[in-house]
Symmetry: C2
Subunit: 329 residues, 2 copies
Amino acid sequence: MTIYDIAALAGVSASTVSRVINGKPGIKAQTRDKVQALLRKYDYCPNETARGLVNQATKSIGILVADIRNAHHTDGAYFIERELEKQGYCSIIFNTGADENDKAEYIRQISQRRVDGVVLIGSSFQSSTIAAAIAQHLQNTPVVLVNGWLDLPNVYGVLAQEEAGTADCVALLAAKGHKKQAFVLNMHTPSNDLKLRGFTAGMQAQGALPEDIWIYETESSLQGGYDITKTILEQHPDIEAILFAVDLLAAGAVRALMDLHIAVPQQVAVMGIDNSVYGEMCYPRLSSLDTKLVEQSVAAARMLLSALAGEKNPRKVMLFAEIVERETT
Amino acid sequence: MTIYDIAALAGVSASTVSRVINGKPGIKAQTRDKVQALLRKYDYCPNETARGLVNQATKSIGILVADIRNAHHTDGAYFIERELEKQGYCSIIFNTGADENDKAEYIRQISQRRVDGVVLIGSSFQSSTIAAAIAQHLQNTPVVLVNGWLDLPNVYGVLAQEEAGTADCVALLAAKGHKKQAFVLNMHTPSNDLKLRGFTAGMQAQGALPEDIWIYETESSLQGGYDITKTILEQHPDIEAILFAVDLLAAGAVRALMDLHIAVPQQVAVMGIDNSVYGEMCYPRLSSLDTKLVEQSVAAARMLLSALAGEKNPRKVMLFAEIVERETT
DNA sequence: TTGTAGGCGTTATCAC
DNA sequence: GTGATAACGCCTACAA
């Protein structure tokens, strides 16, 4: 069912039908009614592909997510989608995977689908490869990065104070008498590297020597957190606190400590970062650095909407991170 | 950069460029090389919108997810996406929300985007509204439902034995001496109703009278599981086991029981359904009915691929659910 | 082996 | 008010 079919049925031209569909003025009420009745009767739906071809806009935005299994990312996508939907935008989500080239390839893909705007969720999009891909394919499309930032004229970024926040965690732990701390990350992303820097700075502020700054890396899973905790305990039986780059790992750690009958937080304190649902699920409940995911997402959506409306605004927004103390500190 | 630009640069016609791009035969090697060099030099990317308009296929499939925050759904989407990518299909994910009409609207939307196939994740797509929308807009597109089923010629479905599996849970709990059981669900979906039926059947098989079959409903969150557990304990202090429609609720229940110093599973046993990560995170670790998400997803992807290839195969696949016992039973 | 012409479904710009 | 007509970018007969 195309506008031509409807036009034939109504005994008018396709342009008239198009005008009715798009609510353009200058149509006789009688004609309009007749066409609209037909439209409804045959349940006509405009072909968005054809529309996208002639209009350059599609009233849709693309959301690229590094890993769709990451609850932190999908929650962000959820809030962004809701915010954009209020303004009539349709969100299309793509799962890019971790690979840099795949990510760039998706940027190319999405640019060909004529989306009006793009949201990149995950700090791993903050890379030179991606910057090049954006410069190449998305020159005239507003792009907003959640938890990241790139210095391009059409790219906006929302960030949380991860570095300072992590340093605050170290200070909190130390103030509670847990001086000997280790930091565990799952992978090197710009975000995790920021946390790592915050940890190092925090430890140095406590007067720690380089050899007292213990950094570990493990697989990104509950089991990864579980295993690395046992390893740390073997290597540093006197450890007093472990700080994890993500809550999932911290949840694994809490389990390991419980299994080993080590008192949490009395003997070993634990902290995560993200303040996810996992925190409430742990036993004891996990203390965590809240990196303000919801606020970041909403801010990202607003920035995109604003850019889409042609408004000028700062290309970088920084949010405060906040420690949520529960039972593991 | 369009094929016309490349054509002008190469001194050939647009159709020649098109043929080179699509690897059509009957082009002089020399011409082909010249065009390909130009294509690479200017990093030409075909406009997928225009392509979709003329070809009816787009080598892309749409995945509709009822709630993108549901880890169970996004995990499914992840596996499906990976499976389809192997065959060169690009997955586009849409978050529809719970509303029936919104879901139908997305089906309309997606049909206009000329996807080659559609995957619906979540049993809530198993409804007459959706069936009507599919019949209306997706007549000639293969559709596969994960954890659901609709009797339409182009719709395939993958299901787990949720009803029988839930009844098995009841039997297991009873065999361990936990006769007095309650069932809690978060919302009414076809899937949850199946579990509910399984619970009722299981209880009846144990000789329970109608008034001994306790059913509760609560909000779909950790807190919801937490709160309802306290309510149940007040109303039935002699309760011996609680079975939850989803792990998230069960995780909340385990927390509530720990806080109340009730021995799990000695005094009250707990079981979830889904066998998600939450199960390993709980303390004690949650026993759960594994509804074979990964297998379901992979099967769904395979069915879609097969249908896309024009092969005939059964429109319904049923998988066994399996109890995973951990520490709460 | 290559070019021309027509069309996919829509919208915008002119005429009438 | 309404109807031709020409794009949008690509693909595929058909012709040469």
